[in-house]
Symmetry: D2
Amino acid sequence: MDTTPATADTTVDGHTAHGYISDKARYLARMKRIEGQARGIHRMVDEEQYCIDILTQISALTSALRGVALGLLDDHMKHCLLDATHLGPEAAEAKIQEASDAIARFVRS
Amino acid sequence: MDTTPATADTTVDGHTAHGYISDKARYLARMKRIEGQARGIHRMVDEEQYCIDILTQISALTSALRGVALGLLDDHMKHCLLDATHLGPEAAEAKIQEASDAIARFVRS
Amino acid sequence: MDTTPATADTTVDGHTAHGYISDKARYLARMKRIEGQARGIHRMVDEEQYCIDILTQISALTSALRGVALGLLDDHMKHCLLDATHLGPEAAEAKIQEASDAIARFVRS
Amino acid sequence: MDTTPATADTTVDGHTAHGYISDKARYLARMKRIEGQARGIHRMVDEEQYCIDILTQISALTSALRGVALGLLDDHMKHCLLDATHLGPEAAEAKIQEASDAIARFVRS
């Protein structure tokens, strides 16, 4: 199931490489769809479509984004965070602080 | 750039036409930027960039979307809703119900 | 259906009286329950119960609060806002701006 | 006021005891205040105060709750999650899954 390539632990620009994303193709498809939704909303505004209909599409896009964010967060916690625990308590603590901060930013966004 | 036609009050497919958006050019620019943000996140996933950085970008995008939604809602309430009050209580009530439902969908998205 | 008492339009401290809340008893019961949930969470913290269980209770409380807020907002829009339209465009506009601001505060809370 | 017992690491009903909450007294004070806010909103509804004012109070309460939730989550991740890593990969994974699920519930609440 995990097709993380053999390069997964090499260091790339300051981070260990992130072969962490389970099912990358699915995330790419979801982001492609989200991009299309954003483009569709742009067109609706351009065509001065009905406000409520635009709001409905923005709600759908927000919801789709939230799904991607929660999925990535879940992957991150399972992979990066778990891996970090092998690096010793300081590294683990730093990773946990980083994840906690990212969660707070997302919750408040 | 706002080319809202003089026909703004004629009926177009069941809605009064929506010359309601204050500063349409600004909304178009914001949606263009949001589309670019979505494309950027797609690329970050494709390049397997660091999860936390992707999450940070998703938070920024969510926040930008929320701003557009609140702006459109404000415009809608000021223009469509206010206009609807000229159409009599039933029409006003229907418009208000519609707006209230859209708000609930957005809040829960 | 609307059992608003005859006093509903008298002025009380600067506002028209708010006989607007449909099914007031139900809101009171919901707020009573929410108060109990808050007290329960206080006790869980005091007893140092498991964090995740406390978070689950906070999620339930947040969700209940959101339901009350959306219900009140719906009532407000149907009653106060609709009533305001009888007071002329300036009053209606002021009420709509007020509601729009309250929605933005809630969405950002 | 922090009466965290000396037994903080003993096992209590299936969980390791939760001496994890940094500054418990502060959380208790915050929850006490939140309880008071809920009681205040109940009274506002009972007195049929102005909807918008009630909504503003609900927004403040929601915001306060979110702060408590993010604080507890941060504490949880720093203490419970970090501790779990000493218990071996399976335990750590289970803890991480549990935290990730709680975050998703909270974000969606």
